[in-house]
Amino acid sequence: MKRLEFLWETFLQLLSGVPVTVSLVTVSVLLGGVLALALTGIRRTSRPGEWAVSAYVFALRGSPLLVQIFLIYYGLGQFEWIRTSFLWPFLREPWWCAITALALNTAAYQAEVLRGGLNAVPKGAIEAARVCGMGRLMTFRRIVLPIAVRQALPAYTSEVVIMVKATSLASIITLFEITGIAHSIVSETFRAFEVLSIAGLIYLVMNFALTRAFRRLEIRLIPQSKATAFERPVSKA
């Protein structure tokens, strides 16, 4: 009976971390999406632009997310001019640091996803649009973007799931999301198996709901094709 009570109490405590995790994911994925669009735009302007974006993507995808978080949270304080700048009130906060790191990181991955989607747009479709008299912007909005988004959706789904998992790293810079709360309960009670299993279960449910929702969206956007399960071995650690 006492054990059950402990489990229930732990569950409730961990549940209080869900809003933090969800807001971390939502804000960083949306910010990262805007950034990824910008990166894709820069990539298409010029050769140097393409190189710069490729370098960004290479650096962000080739190093662990944990290093990136530490660089922003601890690293930026090394510079006097940052500590005196107007950004410092934000960059001092673990929440904003986590958001910044996660957004910059997912932007690199999302830029790659977008690139894959854009590459899949048939040349003929674009030509046809131009022949019909659509301008560049209208072609992009009406033809290129819808095709690219459909193409990129499965990869996008797994990117969001990976981001849900990645937010657990925010606990290392003292944010109390699900993993952070779990860790503090474990260090108080030493009942690692129970606490961490419940935390894992919460993540599983969240990711399950997320993939289901995206699948729904996929089926709605691409009625002719059966939605495929994601099997990309990626993570950011």
Partner: protein, 243 residues
Amino acid sequence: MDGLLAYFTQVGFGPTGWGLPLLRAASMTVAVSLSAFGVGIVFGIFGCWAKLSRSVVAQGVATVYTTVLRGIPDLLVIYLLYFGGSQAIGMIARLLGHQGFFGLNGFVVGMMAVGIISGAYQTEVLRGAYLAIPKGELEAARVAGMGRLLMLRRIVAPQTLRFALPGMGNVWQLILKESALISVVGLIEIMNQTRLAVGRTGAAFSFYITGAILFLVITTMSGAVFRRAEAWAMRGMGGRVKS
């Protein structure tokens, strides 16, 4: 310019430089990643075998394994193995009449945790590779009178490995990055060594950027190795390997 000079003195190999500890930490990262890769392959082989077997139970177990480990954060798995492992050992020790908290070896915990996680990805890679073997080859082997074991050794294993190499390269990159998380259980790899250096010198940006560069160097170099391996494995296949 002065700043740059100070930076290179700090991460260099001089008497006040952290070059040697950082290099040692980098080799620890590679060592623990390699061990985890090995563990992951073992888990992957069992997972793949279970998923392809006719037994519903084995299939179910393997599906649960891959779903759970790809659905929960890696950090949670490391904590579970570290604290859970200590909890289990503590329980056994109490039965034997010992008291206190038992810490586990960071290398072993990290190797097992990252190995088990990557095994879930490896399972899918190996399964995909096995299914890519043309059915005719297996039939031909059977017709030629090969037994199951001989067929595994001569046809299935080499062909699976060939098709699995690109996916295995991805898993290796993932393991390398994941190895940074092992720093939370106290292993002195790149992340932890840079953290120690930051604690001593206060130069947080300098050392964390150095850590990031070390990771980039390792991922780039091993990427080149995997490309070479792919080219070698695909030799004589009429340029089916890209990139």
